[in-house]
C-alpha cells in the first residue's frame, strides 16, 4: 500500500490509479453472516444468537446504485455496517476492489476508510453538537493526515457549496441548521475524502417530504458529477425505486430477491416482494376503492433468534407448500438480471410444480389475498411456464427425484 502516493492523489483531488472502471465489480460479498450472541447467567454463557445477517451474496458494480429494502429487523442496517466494516462479520467474505477486508484490523482498515464512507440516518445524533461544522467536515482530513490543495478551510467551504450550503456557515454549530441542512453536512463529510463507495443508511427517512426530495436530488447529482457508487439502505420502496439501479430485497437476514429496478417493480418474482410493494399506500384517492390489489401479510416478522426452517417466508406466504418448510430455496438467477430465492415464484414458472398442496398457514394467508390477484398470478405463471416449455433447452424441469423435497434444490440448479 503506497500510502504516500495515495495521499498525494487524494490531496490533488484526483482519482487514484487503481480505480475500478464503471461496471466493474467494486464490492463483492460472499456468504456474509453476522450473529449477535445472546449471553445469560453469571458466566455469561452464550445461549443463542440473533442471526441478523445470515448468508448474503451480492456484488456492487462501480458507478451503480444498489438499493436495499426490507422491514425493520431484516438486517439491512447490519449489512451496511458489515460492508463498511464498522462491525466484524461472523462468517463470510467482504472484498473491496479485489482485496479481502473481512478481518482487517482498525489500523489496516484506515486507508480503506477513505474509499468507503457512510451517511447516517439521523442527522441529529450523527453530528457532534460541540463541534462547528467546519471541524466536523475537516475531521476526515485530520484523521487521514491529508492536506487538500488550497488548505483544509478552502476545501471544506468548497464541499459546503457542493452540497448546497452557504460556505460562510463554516463556523456554525449543528443546532443552527435544520434537519435537511444537517443531512447535507453529513453528506459533505462523507464526500470529503473523495470516496469510491458511499453507504447511506436511511439517508432521507428522518426528513420531511419536501426536504427529502432535495436530498434525493442532491445524491443523484453528486453521483453523476463524481461517479460515486452508492449502497442505499431504506425502507421506503418509492424512494429506493427512484434512486437505485439494482435492488436487493431482504427478509430475516437473507436476500430474497435481487434484480434490476425495472424488472423488480414491473414483475416482482418473490411473493414477499410482491406483498411489500402492494402494501405501499398510493397517493391517489381514485384508487381508494381498489383495495383488492393489496396483499395483506398476516402477523409480524418472525424472530431472527430462531428463524423458520426452509424458506423463511413460509410462515406468512400464501403460496407455501411442504417443500418450503423443509428446503431453503437458493438465490437463483431465473431471468437475466433477476435473482430470486423462491420455490413458487410469481411471474415465472413454478420451481417445484409437483408440490401443490398448500400448507394450512398458506391457506389462511391466501384468504387475505384477493381472488383477482391469485388468478392473475396463476395466469402469468402459466404463461411463463408455457413459454419455457416451448424452449426446452433451458427448461429446468422437475427431476424424477422431485418427490423427495430434499433433493429438489440441487435439481433446480441450471
Amino acid at each position: 500500500m503506497a500510502n504516500s502516493a495515495q495521499r498525494e492523489g487524494v490531496a490533488a483531488g484526483a482519482t487514484l490509479n487503481r480505480d475500478a472502471a464503471p461496471g466493474e465489480t467494486l464490492l463483492k460479498v460472499t456468504g456474509l453472516q453476522k450473529h449477535f450472541p445472546i449471553r445469560k447467567g453469571l458466566l455469561q454463557r452464550q445461549v443463542g444468537a440473533v442471526r441478523a445477517v445470515d448468508g448474503l451474496d451480492f456484488e456492487v458494480k462501480s458507478g451503480e446504485t444498489l438499493g436495499v429494502v426490507g422491514e425493520s429487523g431484516c438486517g439491512k442496517s447490519t449489512m451496511g455496517r458489515l460492508i463498511t466494516r464498522l462491525l466484524e462479520p461472523t462468517a463470510g467474505k467482504v472484498e473491496f476492489e479485489g482485496k479481502d477486508i473481512t478481518h482487517l484490523g482498525v489500523g489496516a482498515m484506515r486507508p480503506m476508510r477513505r474509499d468507503v464512507q457512510m451517511i447516517f440516518q439521523d442527522p441529529y445524533s450523527s453530528l457532534n453538537p460541540r463541534h462547528t461544522i467546519g471541524t466536523i467536515i475537516s475531521a476526515p482530513f485530520k484523521l487521514q493526515g491529508v492536506t487538500p490543495e488550497g488548505g483544509v478551510k478552502k476545501e471544506v467551504q468548497r464541499l459546503l457549496s457542493v452540497v448546497g450550503l452557504n460556505p460562510e456557515h463554516y463556523n456554525r454549530y449543528p443546532h443552527e441548521f435544520s434537519g435537511g441542512q444537517r443531512q447535507r453536512i453529513g453528506i459533505a463529510r462523507a464526500l470529503a475524502l473523495n470516496p469510491k463507495m458511499v453507504v447511506a443508511d436511511e439517508p432521507v427517512s428522518a426528513l420531511d417530504v419536501s426536504i427529502q426530495a432535495q436530498v434525493v436530488n442532491l445524491l443523484d447529482d453528486l453521483q453523476q458529477e463524481l461517479g460515486l457508487t452508492y449502497v442505499i439502505i431504506a425502507h421506503d420502496l418509492s424512494v429506493v425505486r427512484h434512486v437505485s439501479d439494482r435492488i436487493a430485497v431482504m427478509y430475516l437476514g437473507k436476500i430474497v430477491e435481487l434484480a434490476d429496478r425495472d424488472s423488480l417493480y414491473k414483475a416482482p418474482m418473490h411473493p414477499y416482494t410482491k406483498a411489500l410493494m402492494s402494501a405501499v399506500p398510493i397517493p391517489d384517492p381514485r384508487r381508494k376503492s381498489a383495495k383488492s390489489e393489496r396483499i395483506l401479510l398476516q402477523g409480524d416478522v418472525p424472530s431472527p433468534i430462531a428463524p423458520p426452517s426452509g424458506c423463511r417466508f413460509h410462515t406468512r406466504c400464501w403460496k407455501a407448500t411442504q417443500i418450503c418448510t423443509t428446503t431453503e430455496p437458493p438465490l437463483l438467477e431465473l431471468k437475466p438480471g433477476q435473482q430470486v430465492a423462491c420455490h413458487h415464484p410469481e411471474n415465472f414458472e413454478d420451481q417445484a410444480p409437483q408440490d401443490t398442496v398448500l400448507l394450512t398457514v398458506a391457506k389462511q394467508a391466501a384468504e387475505l389475498v384477493a381472488d383477482e390477484v391469485l388468478a392473475e398470478s396463476a395466469a402469468t405463471s402459466a404463461a411463463v411456464a408455457a413459454e419455457v416449455a416451448a424452449t426446452p433447452a433451458e427448461t429446468p424441469t422437475a427431476s424424477p427425484a422431485a418427490t423427495a423435497p430434499e433433493d429438489e434444490a440441487p435439481a433446480k440448479e441450471k
Binding site: 435544520s178 419536501s210 426536504i211 436530488n217 418509492s238 402494501a279 405501499v280 409480524d300
Partner: protein, 365 residues
C-alpha cells in the same frame, strides 16, 4: 355540506357569538400560541374546518406546521399545566356535537375525552404504560366512562382486542406492552381508544413508526372500524399516500395555517396552492412511470416565531415573482373559494394558477 362553505368563508371574519353549528365537529379560528424565551411560537394561527360523522379529514403538512398541536388542542390537552406558568394560549372555538369545548367546564371536557373523542398516538410504546398490562389499561379506559364491574370490563377488553385482530385475545389481554410487537401495540392502542365507541377519533401519525406491511394492516383496520362505528376521523400525517387511502377531505397546513382544503380528489388532481404542488412533486411514486428528477420545494420550513410577512410560503415559492394585481407581498392571502368545497390561500389569480398547473406542474408529475 353547506356548513363547509360557511366555515371556509369564516376565516378572518368575526366569529364570536355565532350560533352553535350543525356540523358534528367545527373548529373556528383556532389559535394555539406558546410563549417561550425567544418569543411567541404561533403553532396554530387561525384554523377553521368542519367534519361530519362517518367522514375522514386528512391533515397534511411538514413537521412544525401545527398538525399535532391542532389535534391536541381539539382534545383539550394543551391546558393541562405541564408548561407551568407558561400555559399555551388558546383562542377560537371548537364545537363538538353542539358543545363548545374551549369555554366548557374542564370536568365536562374530561367526561367527553375518551368517550366522545379519542386519540391514537404516533408512538405506541410511549403512549402505553409499561407497568400495566394491556388489559388493565383498556379496562381502566372503559371503567372511567362506564359503571361496570371489572369482569364485564375485562370481557369488553378481550372483545376489543379480538376486534382489532390480536390473536388469542383472552391470553394477550394479560400481556405487557413490551411483549407486543410494534404493530400489535398500535392495534392495542386502537382497541383502547375505541373501547368507548367514540364519535370522533383523532389519529396522529398512526402508522409512521410502523413497517409498510404493518402499516397496510393498520390502515385497513382504521377504515373498517370507521365503517363499523360510523365515527368521524381526523388523520394527521406527512405521508400523502396514507391521506389518499383514508381521507374524504384534505387540509394542507403550512406555518400554522390552512393553505388549501378540499375533497381528496380535488386536492390531488386540481391542487390550487404552490405548496401542494411542491408536496406532490417531491414525492417519488410507485404507481407512475419513473420520473427523472423529483421537484423539491426549495428552502426549509419557516420559524413559527418569525413567520415571513405576507404569505408564509413566499420565500420558498417558485411563483412568488408572478405579477399579481393590486396585491402587495406583505399582505397575507386568505382562504378563498376556488371550486366547489375547495379553498386555497394564494395571491395568484385562478387563471394564473390554472395555467401554471396544467402547463408546468402536471406534466412533470
Amino acid at each position: 355540506m353547506t356548513e363547509l362553505s360557511k366555515s371556509g368563508a369564516a376565516v378572518g371574519e368575526p366569529v364570536k357569538d355565532s350560533p352553535a353549528p350543525s356540523a358534528f365537529l367545527e373548529v373556528r379560528d383556532l389559535k394555539v400560541h406558546f410563549p417561550t424565551d425567544d418569543g411567541l411560537v404561533k403553532s396554530v394561527d387561525g384554523l377553521s374546518f368542519t367534519l361530519e360523522k362517518g367522514k375522514t379529514l386528512g391533515i397534511v403538512g411538514e413537521s412544525g406546521s401545527g398538525k399535532s398541536v391542532t389535534s391536541l388542542g381539539i382534545m383539550g390537552l394543551h391546558t393541562a399545566g405541564q408548561y407551568g406558568k407558561r400555559k399555551a394560549q388558546i383562542s377560537g372555538e371548537i364545537w363538538l356535537d353542539g358543545t363548545e369545548l374551549l369555554t366548557a367546564d374542564p370536568d365536562h371536557v374530561r367526561k367527553l375525552r375518551g368517550r366522545e373523542m379519542a386519540m391514537i398516538f404516533q408512538d405506541p410504546l410511549s403512549a402505553l404504560h409499561p407497568y400495566y398490562t394491556i388489559g388493565q389499561q383498556i379496562v381502566e379506559a372503559y371503567r372511567i366512562h362506564h359503571k361496570v364491574d371489572k369482569k364485564t370490563a375485562r370481557r369488553r377488553a378481550v372483545e376489543m382486542l379480538d376486534r382489532v385482530g390480536i390473536p388469542q385475545p383472552d391470553k394477550r389481554v394479560d400481556s405487557y406492552p413490551h411483549e407486543f410487537s410494534g404493530g400489535m401495540r398500535q392495534r392495542a392502542m386502537i382497541a383502547m381508544s375505541l373501547v368507548n365507541n367514540p364519535e370522533l377519533l383523532i389519529a396522529d401519525e398512526p402508522t409512521t413508526a410502523l413497517d409498510v406491511t404493518v402499516q397496510a394492516q393498520i390502515l385497513d383496520l382504521i377504515r373498517d372500524l370507521q365503517k363499523e362505528f360510523g365515527s368521524a376521523v381526523i388523520v394527521i400525517t406527512h405521508d400523502l399516500g396514507v391521506v389518499a387511502e383514508l381521507s374524504d377531505d384534505i387540509l394542507v397546513m403550512y406555518g400554522g395555517r390552512c393553505i388549501e382544503r378540499g375533497p381528496a380528489e380535488k386536492v390531488f388532481y386540481e391542487p390550487k396552492h404552490p405548496y401542494t404542488w411542491g408536496l406532490l412533486g417531491s414525492m417519488p411514486r410507485l404507481d407512475r412511470e419513473q420520473t427523472e428528477r423529483l421537484i423539491p420545494v426549495k428552502g426549509s420550513p419557516p420559524s413559527l416565531i418569525n413567520l415571513p410577512t405576507g404569505c408564509a410560503f413566499n420565500p420558498r415559492c417558485s411563483y412568488a415573482d408572478v405579477p399579481k394585481d393590486n396585491v402587495t407581498r406583505t399582505v397575507r392571502p386568505e382562504l378563498a373559494q376556488v371550486g366547489s368545497q375547495h379553498w386555497a390561500a394564494c395571491h395568484m389569480t385562478p387563471e394564473q394558477r390554472e395555467r401554471i398547473w396544467t402547463e408546468e406542474i402536471a406534466p412533470k408529475l
